[in-house]
């Protein structure tokens, strides 16, 4: 195969674009897709400070790399989850990347700072690990962004992530979630704006980006996520994509461009009708926010 742009030997094929690229042109393609996404959805204004949620995985490190190369003031936030060797390794990868780029990395450790980790916390709170993890991440990313005066939180959700979440929400007709599933969530009620600049790129492309840029990322799957519903949805969508390239893109962007508005009225805004958490002051619909309740249960003897 030859590169679509320069006709050099290709290293990466993208079947949904019916295109192949050499290394240089593939990296250019990724940058252009992210630039277009940021512009189209008005994700980041000039001069705004960005906090990138980094996990040591391919998507978040690629996102951080792209934003830094594009000239954004982008600092990283790493959350130590306490998931054994997996967390140790992902922390090492993240720190190594930050050192290599001379980028600022903020670290929060669940065990040191809040007295629990995901394995023990999820058990104590009777939540599945991915639920306790997601709740902790959302809460602590919001807090770190507000404490640090960041305008935007950027996450490495890619096309495959968003298509899989959409698939799950459609299967259950979770209209409140469908109403707020967009590549950008406006800042409101004391929450920072949330953006997903990788939604035009698939996870195969993000892994290729890291390989070609020499970014070491954790290839192993999170042991607590293995076999979860979300991965099952991705496998189902990939089985369809194999015979019908472009289906994931058409599914997700068909929703964003043509269908989302029908569910907008049912969207639960970030935080709903908000008061402040009695414990931490975060915006919440209850007296005590869900994260503080998780901390309380996880710390109970």
């Amino acid at each position: 195969m030859k590169c679509r742009r320069c006709k050099a030997p290709a290293v990466m094929d993208i079947r949904r674009h019916n295109a192949s690229f050499c290394a240089t042109c593939f990296l250019h393609h990724c940058t252009e897709q992210v630039r277009r996404t940021i512009d189209d959805f008005k994700m980041i204004a000039p001069g705004e400070r960005v906090l990138v949620a980094v996990s040591g995985g391919k998507d978040s490190l690629a996102l951080w790399d792209l934003l830094l190369d594009m000239g954004y003031e982008a600092d990283g936030l790493y959350l130590g989850l306490g998931i054994g060797e997996y967390s140790d390794e992902s922390g090492r990868m993240t720190r190594a990347y930050a050192d290599k780029r001379g980028a600022k990395l903020i670290e929060v450790d669940l065990r040191d700072d809040y007295g629990f980790d995901i394995p023990s916390g999820s058990k104590a709170a009777r939540r599945v690990p991915c639920s306790a993890c997601g709740l902790s991440k959302r809460s602590l990313f919001n807090k770190a962004a507000l404490d640090g005066g960041y305008d935007v939180v950027a996450t490495g959700h890619n096309l495959d992530d968003e298509a899989a979440v959409l698939f799950g929400n459609v299967l259950r007709w979770s209209t409140d979630y469908l109403g707020r599933q967009l590549p950008v969530l406006p800042g409101e009620h004391g929450f920072p704006r949330k953006v997903k600049p990788l939604v035009r790129l698939g996870e195969r492309e993000m892994a290729a980006f890291c390989v070609l840029k020499g970014i070491d990322y954790i290839v192993e799957e999170c042991p607590m996520a293995a076999g979860n519903k979300h991965i099952g949805y991705k496998e189902a969508l990939n089985a369809i994509e194999e015979t019908s390239p472009g289906t994931k893109h058409a599914f997700y962007f068909g929703f964003v461009d043509r269908t989302h508005a029908r569910f907008a009225a049912e969207a639960v805004p970030q935080g709903g009708d908000l008061g402040r958490c009695d414990r931490c002051g975060a915006p919440t619909t209850a007296e005590v926010c869900a994260f503080c309740r998780l901390v309380e249960r996880a710390a109970a003897p």
Partner: protein
């Protein structure tokens, strides 16, 4: 050829020559879900793999996005 697979990490011997897409079909792997790295270079689906190549088949699906 030596084929390194991940999650769990293991190594297989597969006779070559073989195209990348044929290797993935033989391993019953969806090409949307993996990258193939020959030596230290990414290769496309039509690339030919020789009997003495070392190849990594790297899964790209990550999960847990709550």
């Amino acid at each position: 050829m030596k084929v390194l697979l991940r999650n769990p990490r293991r190594e297989l011997d597969v006779p070559g020559p073989l195209r990348v897409n044929a290797l993935l079909a033989q391993l019953d792997l969806n090409r949307e879900s993996v990258l193939v790295i020959k030596g230290d270079t990414l290769v496309t689906g039509d690339a030919m793999l020789a009997d003495d190549d070392s190849v990594e088949v790297r899964p790209v699906i990550s999960g847990g996005a709550a």
